[in-house]
Amino acid sequence: MFGYIIPDKPELKIKEFELFRAYYCGICKAIASRYGHIPRFALSYDLTFLAIFLSSIDTDDIRLDLSRCITKPFKKIPLVKRDKAIDYAAGMNIILAYHNIKDDIYDRSYRAYPILPLLYPAYRKAKKAYQEQDLFIRTQLDELRELERENCPLIDQAAKPFSDLLASLVTEAASGHGEENKVLRDFGYNVGKWLYTIDALDDLLEDIKGKNYNPILAQFLPDLRPKTGKIDKEKRKEIQEYLSFVLNYTLKQVCLSYEALDIKRNKSILDNIIYGGMYNKTKQILKKEWLNESI
């Protein structure tokens, strides 16, 4: 479910790209200094986006620093100094990665087994720092696993735990009040819903072959025999239209809540990601060849 929220790189100004990288490297460094070097593999673009977003609505300014990176031993690189948003993104990276891997194991993907003990010490530390968040994440992922086990036949319902998860990730960190909190919740909820839905569409073909749960399969093709992988033209069109509506409408809601917020900094990067990156990703996944074949 990660790697979908990325910037539209060709449209980024160089200074914006450098700032994005500074956030990415800043979180990496925060993970390294707080949790060690091994858990750095947990770093993801999506949570970098979260850090940039949280910075943008915070009252405090960010501070940039020139620092060494283990991958570039001879050159100092600019990165964002550890602050609330960076630490939070670092912690969430670890917690989410840990639970994801645990879920993989639960789904009997054994290749994840060796990674878990490597991540555990970091997870324990992150959990201590963000106890409530960890509990909420676990609850939501448990609920998701339960829905998957029951072969939930409604995409909206299956998406709900993850949407609520993202909503809480945003509201817990931002600590807004009243109306603003509601907008933040909507923002997080819709980003989460978009992520879950687009991931489901992206994995659809694989999940048919692998017999994994997929909400789109459950809703539209409950009788499809596993491993056949053949979906007739009418069904493909139906799925395409439905998913096109849901993804675009959800993105529209993301934009609406984003525009209702008071963005104090990083606006151009966020604009690029929300209007450019996420839009392109949606188009790319919806245009997938197998969805649009005319045979």
Binding site: L154, S163, S244, V246, Y249, T250, Y275, Y279
Partner: protein
């Protein structure tokens, strides 16, 4: 366009006659009848004309004696039966009020307690779904309401708005980004075309082209 001709009725037909003719035409040109049919495009065109004709004629009449429109039967507790069981229009009005106030729980409770499920039920259920974040369900329910009652303008309008919303996101990015390269393309192309037109007429806008 002559709306009477499109609907196949005489000039000065009564409201009831117009409605009857409209329903028949909608049934005739409904997209469901033309699935996998090469004439689907033509049917769609015809249906559009039928809708326009109906709109034109109904403007002359006072709004709503079609029971499913919101403005009528307010608080009059009229009962109608549809399918299994009866439903009360007043209940639907209360649901609408709750939705407008943002009281989703109460609205849901009333809808869930109803046994009869006419088009209005699906429409209101769809609105609720959109409110609580179940966009796919909302879209399905509102589409269903519109299919069950194609004469209802509110359902049709809402569905059109939803469809344009999801297109609308695409226009979002173009208004938020200035893509200067395509502007230059537009300017050059426009000038060239103007020059061609000018030359056709005997003049010459750009001498070197």
């Amino acid at each position: 366009m002559n709306p009477y001709e499109v609907l196949g009725i005489r000039q000065g037909a009564s409201e009831a006659e117009i409605k009857k003719a409209y329903k028949e035409k909608v049934k005739k040109y409904h997209p469901d009848q033309y699935r996998n049919n090469p004439l689907a495009g033509l049917a769609e065109e015809k249906l559009k004309q039928v809708n326009e004709a109906y709109d034109m004629l109904m403007k002359g009449y006072s709004t709503g004696s079609s029971g499913s429109s919101y403005n009528t039967n307010q608080g009059q507790g009229s009962s109608r039966s549809q399918g299994s069981g009866t439903y009360n229009q007043a209940d639907f009005n209360r649901v609408r009020q709750y939705i407008n106030m943002g009281n989703i729980g109460q609205a849901e409770r009333i809808l869930n307690s109803m046994t009869a499920r006419p088009a209005e039920w699906f429409f209101l259920r769809g609105l609720l779904d959109l409110r609580i974040g179940n966009y796919g369900q909302g879209y399905t329910n509102i589409t269903r309401a519109s299919n069950m009652d194609p004469t209802n303008m509110e359902y049709r309008q809402t569905l059109n708005n939803l469809n344009s919303t999801s297109q609308g996101y695409n226009t979002y990015r173009t208004t938020n980004r200035r893509d200067s390269s395509s502007d230059i393309c537009k300017i050059c192309t426009t000038l060239y075309l103007c020059d061609c037109c000018c030359e056709c007429m005997g003049g010459d806008l750009i001498i070197c082209c």
